[in-house]
Structures are given as C-alpha cells and as structure tokens.
C-alpha cells in the first residue's frame, strides 16, 4: 500500500512556514507582532516556522517528484503533511487568532459588573480556540485526505509532552502531588463507579450498561469506556450513548471549569486538582488546565499528575468491573488478571518517570529548584548588591517592621548587601507582600530578591517545548471529536451521567476548597 500522495500540499505548507519564519526574522512583521502583543514570541516563531518550513519543503519535493515505493520511508513520509497541517492550525491560533480575539474582546469593554472582558470570562485562549478549530475543521470542512495520515500523530505529541513534563518536578513536589492525586482520584473514582451502579440498579438498567457507564464516569471517560465495553459485553447503543455523553460533558466542562476557577480565585494547584478529578474525559483535563493558565504550566503540571494517576487506576477498574460482571452474568468470560494489567499498562508513564529521574540528578536545574526557580547568592555581581543609598533607605524604615524574623532578615540583608539564605528570601518576600514599607523600600527588596533567584534556562526551554507538544496534540485530538458521536448522548447514560458527573465536579470542588492548600 502506497501512502504518500502526489500532492503539492506538503510543499506549500513548507513554503508558508519558511516564508513566515523568514519574514519574522527580517523584522517585516514587527508592526503586526507589536499590535498583537506577540513580540516576545518572535524567537519561538522563527525557530518553529523555519524548522517546519525546511521539513515541509524537503518532504514536499520528495513527495512530488520521487516515485513512491511501498515501505517504511513512504509510510512515515506520508504523515508529515498532516503533522504540518495540525502545526499550522496550532500556530495560527496561538500567534494570530487568539491574540486577535483578546484585542477585539478588550475593545468591546468589560461585561456587566464582572470587570472582565468577554474572552477572559469564557477562557478563550489559544488552547481552547485550538481544540475548537480542530472540532470545527473535522465537522464542517472535513480533513483533507493528504492530512489524514498525520492527524494520527496527535497522540504521539501528547505522550511526548507528558514524558517531557517529567523534567519539571522536584521530588518534594511530585511526592505531595502524587499523594494528593491518589487520595482524590481513589475516592472519587470509587465514589462515582459506586454511584452509577447504585442509581443504575434503582432504574433497572442492564448490567452491561451499568458496567460501561461506570467505567466512563469513574476513570478516564472515553478511554475507560473503550477499555471496559468488551469486558462487560456492552450493546452497541449503550456504547454510543455513553461515549456521546462523555464527549458532550468533556467539551462543555472544558469551557465551564476555567472561568469558574478564576471566579473562585483558585490557584494552579487547586484548579489542577479540581480539573484532574472532576472532568470526565482525560484529554479535556489537559485542555482545561492549559486554558486556565495559558502562559505558564503550573496548572498543567498538577493536572497531568492527576491524569497519570487516573491512567494507573484504569486497569484496576477494568478488573473490578470484569469480576463484577462475571458474578452477575453467566455467559461472561473470566479474565486473566495478569494479562489485563500487562496489556493495559501505559508504558509512557515509565518514560515520564525516567525523565523525572534524570531531572532529579540535577542536570536541568540545581537540585534545590522549586517550580523552575532556584536560590543562589554566590555570584551576585557588584551592580546587583545593595548600594549605600539603598541601605540608608531601608535603615530609615526598620522601625516599621514588627515581626522579629522580618527584622532579623532585614538586618542580615543590610549587613551583607545581599540575601543570605532561602529562608531570608521567603521572609523578605512576605514583608514586601505585606506592604509594611513604602514603595521605594519595597523596590529595593524586590531587586535584592531578583539578584539571588534564578530561573533555570533549561527548565524554561522545556516549558516552551511542552506547551507546543500539548497544543499540537490537543488540536489533533479536537480533529477526532465528531458531532455525530456527541449527538448519540442519550437514554439512561445521559441522565445518570449528568447526575454523577455534576456530583463529582461539585464534590471535588468542595473537597478542594476545604482541604487543598495552594502552596505545595
């Protein structure tokens, strides 16, 4: 079978990317970038557009002029056009469309008494718009046939993103997030599976429907439904109802969660935990996390730990349902526990752990880094030390400080002209936030803080890469959500799913607001 098509599309995509990258590099688009507020992304544009451009041009020429022969080369070559197609959608949305929407929405003013423009309220940033573009393309325009083969790469993109994410955690962070996610997921998975089976029994739904629905509601939405359907021998309509319901709620929740999170003043950890527990379908968890915080990935980091925990729960649930079903139905096949676990174990989670292990050796950032920042006061240049004038300004206001630890930290700072320890740094930051001193003094303290806090450059690069892998993957997954399947939401699964899904989202929200602290 020959896969690559004699289409000029790849070459054209390559030329478009290359031309765009070149234009940005030459400064031809400076005016537009400044208008869109994208000047800070110019380097990223040049790097990505030129790379994609070169790949596209070479692949395009080979596709057009060389005779295709069946084999690996032809097979993998045929995926490039589709990959560039997804990348183009992601890039246009991230660099042009989302900034434009923000500008237009700001121009329309704030909505009612909320004090926020409409795009902030609806969370219309590049991630949400990217997924939407994917959904719109597949449902209204159809994916061009030359791109179909490459759309199948979106899962690869997401998995690579998750593996790279491993580089960003410190051991302490991972341990705490891991504990939190196991407790939350464990509780809510068991809770919702139990709830579906309970409501299902009262409404007399067949066992096969209860089984497939509880898996979908409990663990990772569509993925769990796919895994559980054959085990509980679900009827075709039951599968269609369940998947339709999950997709419908998944897409809706992706729009509802982020604005609600902002309205409730949640931080990255709280929101990540909430989305990771409450959103039914796992692809939308990542979408909602990035939608909540598009400029940083603290939320995504938290949410993905929850996602990984969910994946690890999947085989357990499938096994449980298998046992449950075998007990109830005489015709059911018994299951081989070992085979299920080996067959369902996601190897990319091991990749995540491997990269995390690499990261904890300290090759990406000093081992004591926290969220990509670390404390180091050994090389503070003379220019960044406090000047005599600075010390005099601080000295004049020392009396305003009440707390002893703050006075002590302040005096050590004045004595050494730089922050001496990580604890001092935290204490002085608290002092700044408390606004005890006047503006001038606070400015000096902030300067002293900046001199000893460093962003790890490699960690920063990883963040950029990860954001792109997720954007790529999510746009591609958007291209696989069809209205025809969402429309199948119906019957008992829609009713029970709505109750259980809403209960889970609200329950998780309450638990998180009550018990989960923002600082981890």
């Amino acid at each position: 079978m020959i896969y690559s098509q004699k289409t000029p599309a790849t070459l054209i995509l390559g030329i478009v990317f290359a031309a765009y990258g070149w234009a940005v590099k030459q400064g031809l688009l400076d005016g537009m970038l400044a208008y869109l507020g994208q000047t800070k992304n110019a380097d990223e544009m040049v790097a990505i557009a030129l790379t994609a451009g070169i790949v596209g041009i070479i692949a395009g020429i080979v596709q057009l002029f060389a005779t295709a022969r069946e084999g690996n080369f032809d097979y993998y070559l045929s995926t490039i056009a589709g990959a560039l197609f997804i990348l183009l959608v992601a890039a246009v949305v991230k660099w042009q469309f989302a900034p434009l929407v923000a500008i237009l929405s700001k121009a329309m003013g704030t909505v009612g008494g909320t004090g926020k423009p409409i795009h902030k309220l609806l969370g219309l940033n590049y991630v949400v718009l990217g997924i939407l573009s994917g959904i719109i393309i597949v449902n209204y325009f159809k994916i061009p046939s030359w791109a179909e083969n490459g759309v199948r790469l979106s899962r690869l993109g997401l998995k690579t993103g998750v593996i790279l994410l491993g580089a960003l955690y410190s051991i302490a962070e991972l341990a705490k997030l891991g504990q939190l996610s196991v407790v939350m997921i464990g509780f809510f998975v068991l809770g919702s599976v139990g709830m579906v089976l309970f409501i299902g029994a009262r409404r007399h739904i067949p066992n096969s429907m209860g089984g497939v629905l509880s898996a979908g509601m409990g663990v990772c939405g569509v993925s769990a439904t796919v895994a559980a359907a054959p085990v509980v021998q679900a009827k075709s309509t039951e599968i269609a109802y369940t998947i339709g319901t999950i997709l419908l709620w998944g897409v809706l929740m992706m729009f509802i969660f982020p604005p609600l999170g902002h309205a409730l003043g949640m931080g990255p950890v709280q929101f990540g935990a909430w989305a990771g527990t409450g959103i039914l379908n796992s692809a939308q968890v990542a979408g909602a996390a990035l939608a909540f915080q598009p400029d940083g990935i603290e939320t995504l980091k938290v949410a993905e730990i929850f996602n990984i925990t969910r994946v690890l729960f999947l085989p357990i649930i499938v096994l449980w349902l298998a046992v449950w079903y075998v007990k109830r139905e005489s015709g059911a096949q018994t299951v081989n526990v070992g085979k299920v676990i080996v067959g369902k174990f996601p190897v990319f989670v091991l990749g995540f752990i491997l990269v995390f292990a690499l990261s904890s050796t300290g090759i990406f950032a000093p081992a004591n880094h926290y969220k990509g920042k670390y404390f180091d006061n050994s090389n503070v240049s003379a220019k960044k030390m406090l000047s005599d004038g600075d010390v005099a300004t601080l000295q004049a206001q020392v009396d305003k400080v009440q707390r002893e630890d703050r006075t002590a930290a302040l005096s050590r700072l004045m004595e050494n002209r730089k922050v001496m320890s990580i604890d001092d740094d935290d204490t002085l930051r608290g002092l700044v936030n408390a606004k005890v001193l006047d503006k001038g003094a606070n400015k000096i303290l902030k300067k002293a803080h900046k001199a000893v806090r460093h962003t790890a450059k490699r960690v920063k690069k990883f963040r950029q890469l990860i954001v792109w892998f997720f954007a790529f993957g999510l746009v591609g997954l958007g291209m696989q959500i069809t209205f025809a399947s969402i429309k199948q939401a119906g019957g008992q699964p829609l009713f029970i799913g709505t109750i259980v899904g809403a209960t889970k989202a609200v329950g998780a929200l309450i638990v998180i607001l009550l018990f989960v602290q923002e600082t981890i």
Binding site: G221, A229, A234, S236, T237, L247, T482, S485
Partner: protein, 154 residues
C-alpha cells in the same frame, strides 16, 4: 392493492424499520424482488473520540468487539427477513454498507431499476435509539422513483 416487481427496502432493525419490512413484504407478490439496504452508520468511526490513553491492543479489541456486535445485530435482522421472504417466495437480497443513511440510500437507488423505495418513519420523541436517520427532504429531492414512508407502529 398495487404490487411491485423490485423494491428497495432500507431498514435496520428498529421498531419503525420492522413496520417498513412488513409493508414491503405485503407489497410484493411471489417472484418479486426485495433489495434490502442495511446501513451501518459511519458515526461509529468517530466513536473512539479523543481517547489517547489506551494501548492499540485495547482499541483493537474494542474495534472488533463493536464490529462483531453490529454485525450480529445486522445478521439477526437479515436472517429474519430471509425466512419471511422465503415463505412468500420473494427473492431477497441483503446489502450492508457503512456510511451515511441518506447518501447510501440515494446511491443504491441509482444502481438498479427499482419500482419503489420503502423506509420506516423517524422514531417518535421519547423513544431511545441512535441518532442517525434519513433526511426526508434530501430523499424527496434526490430520488427519481416513488418512496413509501411506513408509519411508526402504534
């Protein structure tokens, strides 16, 4: 009652479709032919949605499970019609396609010279089932032969 030589029957096992089956049978005398078009809606292709966590093997098992499940439903229906038409000495020919119901029917209608197309009515509100049905408007515009829409059984 007028009878027909060759009827194109489009139905797939729902209650409304069963009514269409019965009507098509009664419109044929012995020796007449029924081409039975059974459309498996292509929405199934989108049914794995945006699952990205499962292994390929899990997806394969799901895919072949759904296929065999759909196949079983289709076969049951066909078997039943086959028996009924054998009793009445009607030549019965099943056609199974994967696609969109309306488009598939229009396409099949051009393949032979049919006297009549028989379909069931859309299911009444409140009845459950897949959301994939004939667009009557498109059919009315696209067909060049008469169409009979059999009322939903009370």
């Amino acid at each position: 009652m007028q009878t027909y030589e060759r009827i194109l029957l489009a139905s797939h096992g729902t209650q409304g479709a069963r009514a269409a089956d019965t009507a098509a049978m009664s419109l044929c005398t012995s020796g007449a032919a029924i081409d039975h078009l059974e459309v498996v809606p292509d929405l199934w292709k989108g049914m794995m949605g945006d699952d990205w966590l499962n292994n390929a093997s899990t997806r394969d098992i799901f895919g072949s499970y759904v296929e065999s499940e759909l196949g079983r439903e289709v076969q049951q229906h066909i078997k039943k019609l086959e028996n009924e038409s054998a009793k009445k000495a009607i030549r019965y020919h099943p056609i199974v396609v994967l696609g969109k119901p309306t488009e598939s029917l229009l396409e099949q209608a051009t393949k032979h010279k049919y006297d009549l197309v028989v379909i069931g009515s859309p299911r009444p509100r409140g009845e459950t089932g897949l959301r994939s049905r004939m667009h009557l408007d498109t059919l009315a515009r696209g067909l060049s032969i008469p169409i009979l829409i059999v009322p939903y059984p009370q």
